[in-house]
Symmetry: C3
Subunit: 194 residues, 3 copies
């Protein structure tokens, strides 16, 4: 499955719907493993999608930054983003990453544990394939139950608080001050791109 | 206390009974500290025993691998193995180690935090003794209460879910498919040993 | 805000009262960030104060050790010291640090994550200022809510168990054996200082 709408895959409603349909199909494919290969920047939602995967391979290009940069936009990463990040890089590193909205370049992403492997851009696909081969060699049923044991508490917490989280987010994001803060950020981005 | 039945200390009922009796005796010895020195491979249950110790010293020999390799056998590490591993090496490293059933050689075991020290094989015992001396120099009552504060939640969780965990395990391990999977694994081991 | 009563800032009732008043004033200052710069040793309570900060800068001087050394005094770090340490350096490192009462010199403190930066003594202040500038550049409201999301569970737990914790501590510290243990430790300190 490839997200390709260069130069940017914005998480539009259309893209997300496509993604959900593709993932539902994949779930019925017994050989599915969630390995993500990233040749591109993964801020905010893109970072979260990669964190939910089993393994992250990132192309070694300083342009490809990854992180939950919500505070830079004046908003707050949802608690289930935070939970998922903490499971991946631990409490203290998450605290710094989330408060400062850090977007990690490849070497830093690897060091903090945000990604599992950094390889030259032309080896991303072959590396992902060889990692995938290793995962496929593990008895599938046992691996899936083990994964479930590790990740279910976090998923359960999301499902349990899902409705209140949506309500909080909608009321927060609708505030005038927040809308203004988002406009400032988007303005800066546009300026940067010339 | 030494487990010596070279080349392999299988966790037979006999060995486990002996172990429990020895541990109960040791608990009454006020100077007891749980330092494990390993010259040998520690898969699955052997790894768990070492994780429950205060400190792990491993001989630097690539044959001495350590890890929870349950998935490779087609089975699942119990939740209290998982809890103990997570306390030792963190959430993300546990996820990889458990799903892939990784058996870490000494250098990798040290890097991920599965052991605390790796030394040449002939220095395992002297290293353990000097580590032990450091632990013995700490006021005992305060150290024990501190250890209890760190480990009690995990132990309590095991005790609370003990009966259901036993039932789950027995019913899981009795399934035809699982028995078959174990036979395949043991067959491979035998083949490997010639 | 500077604590300066060289050579030692003991946490006397007077100092603590002053500290609380200063912190309450600072809380009303919107630009407040908790960055600590340490030129001095931070044992026990001093370490806890630094752990509650957002960022820790330590002068590179082997005399400036930092850690929760309660066991060495024959006492036990309170659970909320333990929680705060675990959030900073993880479970396993906390277990070793607390049981052995480790006081980390700068390089080790940095490696285990007890501090975030170690710099030459004459650069402590300038480093803290430049770190502070980075934190000030983040939209403030979003950063504060994010910090709250990370730290509130730990603070809530302290508040919830505060009364019983005080009672436990008072009854523990009043015991003859503990008073004796403290006297021994203080005696050693005096001897060391000549």
């Amino acid at each position: 499955m490839k997200l390709k709408n260069p130069p940017v895959n914005s998480l539009s409603l259309e893209l997300l719907t496509e993604l959900v349909i593709s993932l539902e199909k994949l779930e019925n494919d017994k050989t599915f493993r969630g390995i993500i290969l990233t040749s591109g920047a993964s801020p905010a939602g893109g970072c979260l999608i990669s964190l939910t995967c089993d393994y992250r391979v990132l192309a070694d290009n300083p342009k490809y930054v990854i992180g939950l940069n919500e505070t830079l936009l004046g908003i707050i990463a949802p608690f289930w983003f935070k939970d998922t990040l903490m499971n991946t890089i631990g409490h203290r590193a998450s605290e710094l990453a989330l408060q400062l909205g850090i977007l990690f370049p490849p070497a830093e992403a690897l060091q903090v544990g945000m990604v599992d492997k950094v390889v030259p851009e032309d080896q991303v696909q072959s590396t992902a394939l060889s990692v995938m081969a290793q995962w496929l060699s593990i008895p599938d049923h046992a691996r899936q139950l083990t994964k479930n044991m590790m990740r279910k508490p976090t998923a359960d917490r999301l499902v349990k608080h899902r409705d209140s989280d949506i309500q909080n987010f909608v009321s927060f994001i609708s505030r005038d001050s927040i809308q203004k803060s988002l406009q400032v950020y988007l303005g800066k981005l546009r300026q940067k791109k010339g």
